[in-house]
């Protein structure tokens, strides 16, 4: 517990301001763990509870605190009547906001604060209506915030028009310097076409924009130019030195950007850029709690380039580690308007780590600012007394598009709301929107809660609820980004420049951007993305936009965390939040589209959180804002006193578990070039999150597919297993056995056929075991013989050799006996073949047959006839006078063709067939149907036919013996197969029995 030195009220640990009287409480020095929110003693590098890193890796925890955080500054009442701020806003509070709430402000916050002063001008301009009540310095701050937006526009499609209009309206109520800022804000958008406000834009902002990459900062600068405090002007003076890359014209029309574009051209030198280069040590920010003076004063100083504030210069200097990181962040921005991206924006992305060291010099108020800034929307809102008109309620409705509505809410606040979403949240972890910072200032004048604050609150809900939407809202803000925001952006780019240069033009400016700015940038990118799609409704939104563009790159890592919804935090906020804040929060919930406060991802890289150094110089109220930020740890290390985060802000801090919200939904862009497209822009969580699960790509899965998938899954689940040895494959032994079996069978068949050649079995056995040629039954061949024998004299027989040499061993004897019979009958023979080789066979057989007979008959070899059954048709048509068809067929198909075509042609030509034994079965039906008038089947049939006709070569003794041997061999071979089959059957039965026994 921390007891208020003023009223003695016990405040909970980590409180920056007294809950009762609002007095700044001594920094507890505790660092809130970004992961588990546990408060750790300052100086700790890792969380006691969860071990998470509390200090950015690059940060030097022990770095001397040059700037002991001043506790002055506007402190919002941690306890407020505001009921409205409760749930809505809290829930939506992005992680970065939570961080902000932590006692120790992250570096970036401090830096932001530094920049914010400069930027404030812009803000004021942008948030005219709301800013009216705000102290000057706050307005400046807010202005700076908008500056950020410009960056976003680059990447995102800006709803520029709306913002600008809103700005104008608001400008009326805004104090001069703020109005100036605001005026410049548009200038921030240099890249953007719409430059209505350009006229009002102060020179310095223009310079900024010119030098600075697309970053919104320039606008802020411009605004400042008119009313800019000296320090700001000094800054501007320095700006020229800064290698600011001009805002890319490429910048998307993102609402905010357009405005800046026109003006940017005119802007001489970026005061911010100057600041950056010279690395002017930022004098401890004057910005006391009093909103008015400090920031402006500093800014004014900034105007003098040479005399730029130390902290600013430091920021600008390479000392800031941010620049290194910035490149990555800047990349996205660079593409759009990256060149102008302020470093702080980059830092938002998470690069901030190094910043902490630099931040030390930052005046407290700046630090506070920074804290708030990061939150982008939230911080600025809170810090500046948001004009009453800008209540939560208004925002939702208006946000970007309607100027009237916008008028009430400061642009930069709106932006916050818009951006609040995932993108910012991730990047922003360092900044805790929750930070009372914004609210604190109001605390003093709680009654007249500044609109911008209200806007802030409402915004958060947006983030939480509609993360997906965040993109859109962000876009809107961009267009309307208040000048001060633009200014902020402009400056950061400076730092980032070096780093960014490598990547993109926009990056260059970033390099020089002060760390805190870089930090801011980190977050912005996210917003920017969102903003792209979303039309800029409010001037505030522009800020968001700017941030977004940056975020996309850097934020990626933190993104996952960022998702955390602010919701959890909200409830607490409600109790403590001043009414006006509550109102804001409530409203914010509704206005989701506008600029939901980007929830700071609780898991944000420690680097981001560690901007505390800057916080040292921050005004109390700003510090208070900071307190909430988790980065507090770094603050402690840097020596910056950490303020207590008001409870309401604390409540806003997103819970760890809420992080995932970001993931929820890539929603399609609603406006701009990318309208209708989802996830076309780099979203924050490129690394860890699976963003766009394409719901639209649903593929219909059938039951079969599912079954297969299940099987596949099952197979995968089985894991790797050693393959079982293949069993059953024939081993070498099995192969050998099989081969030996084959040899034995072959040997048996050959031996059976060879026996008759070596011995007369009948004689040896004294038993008529084997048939004799002379006693072969001739029943089967008699019909064929009869058919040929009855041929009228002078008729012609068409002999078809439907076989090739393969079957010649069997078919030649058949052809031989039939030809002899035909020759003997004096029948003219026409030979043909349906087989290409058949004609040669015919020729050879004719020669052989005719040579053995003295009779001469007409013979004609028609040769091969192609077309199979078609060829049969041709043969039949061309030889209508044939008296007989003899088909020597080795294949049953050939016989079928002849039978069928003869029938189809309605020819009454007798057909006899010399068949291979294998073709007999299929010929049986035709034989039995009478379509085939006789057959000679196989070798046995040929021998029987020869024996029956008496025309066989039996007359020759040698031939008779040979035929007899063939007959016996054939018979023995048949019986041998019978024996083999029987043995096979027995062996099968035996093996079967063996199996049974085995079983």
């Amino acid at each position: 517990m921390i007891y208020c030195s003023n009223c003695g009220t016990a405040n909970r640990d980590g409180s920056s301001f007294c809950n009762e009287c609002g007095t700044k409480l001594p920094a507890s020095g505790s660092i809130k763990c970004p992961m588990c929110s546990t408060l750790n003693p300052s100086g700790k590098v890792f969380c006691d509870n969860c071990g998470a890193r509390l200090v950015p890796a690059l940060a030097e925890p022990d770095a001397p605190d040059h700037s002991t955080p001043l506790r002055r500054g506007i402190s919002l009442p941690s306890k407020s009547d505001v009921s409205g701020s409760k749930g809505g806003p809290v829930e939506n509070v992005p992680d970065w906001m939570r961080d902000a709430s932590s006692e120790e402000q992250p570096d970036w916050l401090q830096r932001l604060a530094g920049n914010s002063t400069g930027a404030a001008d812009d803000q004021s301009a942008a948030e005219p209506a709301a800013s009216a009540d705000l102290p000057d310095w706050m307005s400046n701050l807010s202005a700076s915030v908008p500056a950020e937006t410009p960056i976003q526009p680059a990447s995102i499609e800006p709803p520029t028009t709306s913002t600008t209009s809103a700005d104008q309206v608001a400008a009326e109520d805004v104090p001069d310097w703020m109005s100036n800022l605001r005026a410049t804000a548009p200038s921030l958008d240099d890249t953007q076409p719409s430059a209505p406000q350009s006229a009002e834009t102060p020179d310095w902002p223009r310079n900024l924009s010119a030098g600075a990459p697309a970053v919104t900062e320039p606008p802020a600068v411009r605004n400042v130019a008119n009313d800019i405090p000296e320090w700001l002007s000094k800054l501007a003076g320095n700006a020229p030195t800064v290698p600011m890359t001009p805002i890319k014209s490429d910048l998307p029309a993102s609402g905010t950007a357009p405005v800046d574009k026109t003006e940017s051209a005119d802007i001489p030198d970026d005061w911010l850029s100057r600041l950056v280069k010279p690395a002017p040590t930022v004098p401890e920010p004057t910005p006391a709690p009093a909103p008015e003076g400090e920031p402006p004063a500093e800014e004014s100083s900034a105007s003098d380039s040479d005399a730029s504030l130390d902290w600013l210069t430091r920021l600008a200097d390479g000392s800031m580690t941010m620049p290194e990181e910035s490149p990555t962040d800047s990349l996205p921005a660079a593409e759009l308007s990256a060149p102008n991206m302020p470093d702080w924006l980059k830092e938002f992305g998470g690069t901030l780590t190094s910043e902490s060291t630099n931040t030390t010099d930052v005046p407290d108020w700046l630090g506070n600012l920074a804290a708030s800034m990061p939150a982008e929307s939230s911080a600025p809102n809170t810090s500046a007394g948001v004009p009453e008109g800008l209540k939560d309620e208004d925002r939702p409705a208006v946000l970007g598009e309607e100027p009237s509505e916008i008028s009430d809410v400061p642009d930069w606040l709106r932006e916050f709301q818009a951006t609040g979403e995932p993108a910012t949240s991730t990047a922003q972890p360092a900044f805790s929107i929750e930070e009372p910072a914004a609210a604190e200032p109001v605390a003093e004048s709680v009654a007249a809660t500044p609109d911008w604050l209200a806007a802030l609150q409402p915004a958060p809900p947006m983030h939480a609820e509609e993360e997906a939407q965040s993109f859109e809202p962000a876009a809107e803000p961009m267009t309307e980004t208040p000048d001060w925001l633009a200014a902020l952006q402009a400056a950061p780019p400076m730092q980032a420049e070096e780093e960014a240069q490598s990547i993109e033009p926009a990056a260059e400016p970033m390099t020089e951007t002060p760390d805190w700015l870089a930090a801011l940038q980190a977050a912005p990118p996210m917003q920017a993305e969102e903003a792209r799609s979303v039309p800029i409704e409010k001037a505030v939104e522009p800020k968001v936009k700017i941030e977004k563009p940056i975020q996309p790159i850097r934020i990626e890592p933190p993104a996952p965390i960022a998702a955390k919804p602010i919701e959890a935090a909200q409830p607490t906020a409600e109790t403590e939040m001043p009414q006006w804040l509550r109102g804001m929060s409530q409203a914010s919930a509704a206005p989701a589209p506008h600029g939901p406060i980007a929830p700071i991802p609780p898991e944000l890289p420690p680097e981001l959180r560690e901007e505390p150094a800057v916080a040292a110089d921050l005004p109390d109220w700003l510090q208070a804002l900071r307190k909430g930020a988790p980065a507090g740890g770094t603050l402690a290390s840097s020596g910056i006193a950490q303020g207590e985060i008001p409870e309401w802000l604390e409540a806003l801090r997103p819970q760890i578990g809420e992080t995932q919200l970001i993931d929820e939904g890539p929603e399609a862009e609603t406006e701009g070039v990318l309208a209708g497209l989802a996830q076309t822009l780099p979203s924050v969580p490129l690394m860890g999150e699976v963003h766009g699960t394409p719901a639209s790509l649903k593929v219909e899965t059938s039951a079969q597919d599912l079954a297969r998938a299940g099987m596949f899954q099952e197979l995968l689940a089985r894991g790797a297993s050693t393959p079982k040895p293949v069993v059953g494959l024939p081993g070498r032994g099995a192969k050998m056995r099989r081969r030996v079996g084959q040899w034995l069978i072959a040997l048996a068949v050959l031996v059976s056929m060879g026996i008759p050649a070596k011995m007369d079995l009948n004689k040896a056995l004294s038993f008529q075991l084997l048939p004799h040629l002379d006693k072969l039954p001739t029943t089967a061949v008699r019909l064929a013989f009869k058919t040929i024998d009855q041929l009228p004299d002078g008729s012609t027989a068409l002999v078809i050799f439907d076989y090739d040499p393969t079957q010649s061993g069997e078919m030649n004897p058949i052809a031989d006996v039939l030809l002899r019979h035909l020759i003997a009958r004096g029948t003219a023979v026409q030979a043909a073949s349906l087989n290409p080789l058949g004609s040669s066979v015919a020729q050879a057989e004719w020669l052989k047959a005719s040579s053995q007979l003295s009779d001469t008959v007409q013979f004609e070899n028609l040769g091969y006839v192609a077309g199979q059954s078609i060829g049969v048709q041709q043969l039949l048509e061309r030889n209508p006078s044939i008296g007989l068809v003899v088909d020597l067929a080795a294949s049953p198909d050939n016989l079928r063709w002849w039978v069928e075509q003869i029938a189809a042609s309605n020819l009454q030509v007798p057909l006899i067939a010399g068949l291979s034994a294998g073709a007999e079965p299929l010929a049986l039906p035709y034989i039995r149907s009478g379509q085939v008038k006789g057959t000679v089947v196989g070798l046995v049939g040929a021998l029987a036919y020869a024996q029956y006709t008496g025309l066989s070569p039996l007359s020759t003794a040698s031939q008779a013996t040979e035929n007899q041997i063939h007959l016996e061999a054939q018979t023995l071979a048949h019986w041998m197969l019978v024996l083999i089959i029987l043995i096979g059957m027995l062996s099968a039965l035996f093996s079967r029995g063996g199996r049974r026994s085995a079983a």
Binding site: K775, L837, G871
Partner: protein, 221 residues
């Protein structure tokens, strides 16, 4: 245009030619048409055979040589084919007067016939091996019937002098048994084969009608 030649025209030609030929079986007046159409078809079929040879060389074995798979065998095949082709063409050109075509005859009788006949002869041994292993692989009623039928045919294919008289009558009980068994097997075979032929005929008719009436377009596939 391409579709006209690759799909439409072939289909129309198929149907027209087919219908004319088929109608010619019913209308004798179209017999001459059928003769002409068939003659054209025979010539085309001859070209198809030549195409088969070209594909064998170019599409199969040249490809194999390029791929290195069995290149030696493919090369030997191509060389032998080219050599034979050259020799035969030369014979037809140089020895056109000799109708006996001695070179062709020599190649046919002493190279093609011995080898092809030997390939056919190998079948005897492998069928015996298959019969030996059949029941080991497949112990079904069908397999048993298959082997029983085969046994009966083998035992009765050559009339045994101790069972069958030269006039074909059974000499004894064994003869009667053999012949009765063979008659039953022949009846079973004839019945089964007739059913098979009818089935083939039905399938042929169905397929032919499908082709002639555009339902099937094998020519386009």
């Amino acid at each position: 245009m391409r579709r006209l030649f690759t799909s439409i025209l072939p289909t129309v030609i198929t149907a027209l030619a087919g219908l004319v030929v088929f109608l010619s079986f019913l209308l004798p007046a179209l017999t001459d048409w059928r003769a002409s159409l068939v003659s054209i078809a025979v010539i085309i079929a001859a070209f198809a055979v030549v195409l088969g040879f070209v594909n064998l060389i170019l599409g199969v074995h040249i490809q194999r040589i390029r791929q290195g798979q069995g290149a030696f065998y493919s090369l030997s095949l191509i060389l032998s084919a080219m050599l034979t082709l050259g020799v035969l063409i030369a014979e037809r050109l140089l020895l056109a007067a000799d109708p006996t075509h001695p070179v062709s005859t020599f190649i046919f009788n002493n190279i093609i016939t011995p080898m092809q006949s030997s390939l056919g002869a190998l079948l005897a041994v492998f069928l015996a091996v298959a019969a030996f292993r059949m029941l080991r692989r497949r112990r079904t009623a069908g397999a048993v019937w298959f082997l029983l039928s085969a046994l009966i045919v083998l035992m009765t294919q050559v009339p045994l002098p101790f069972a069958i008289n030269p006039d074909g009558s059974a000499a004894n009980f064994l003869g009667q048994l053999f012949y009765s068994a063979r008659n039953i097997v022949d009846a079973l075979t004839a019945g089964g084969m007739r059913g098979l032929l009818l089935g083939v005929a039905l399938g042929t008719i169905a397929t032919a009608f499908r082709v002639l009436f555009f339902i099937d377009r094998p020519q386009s596939e």
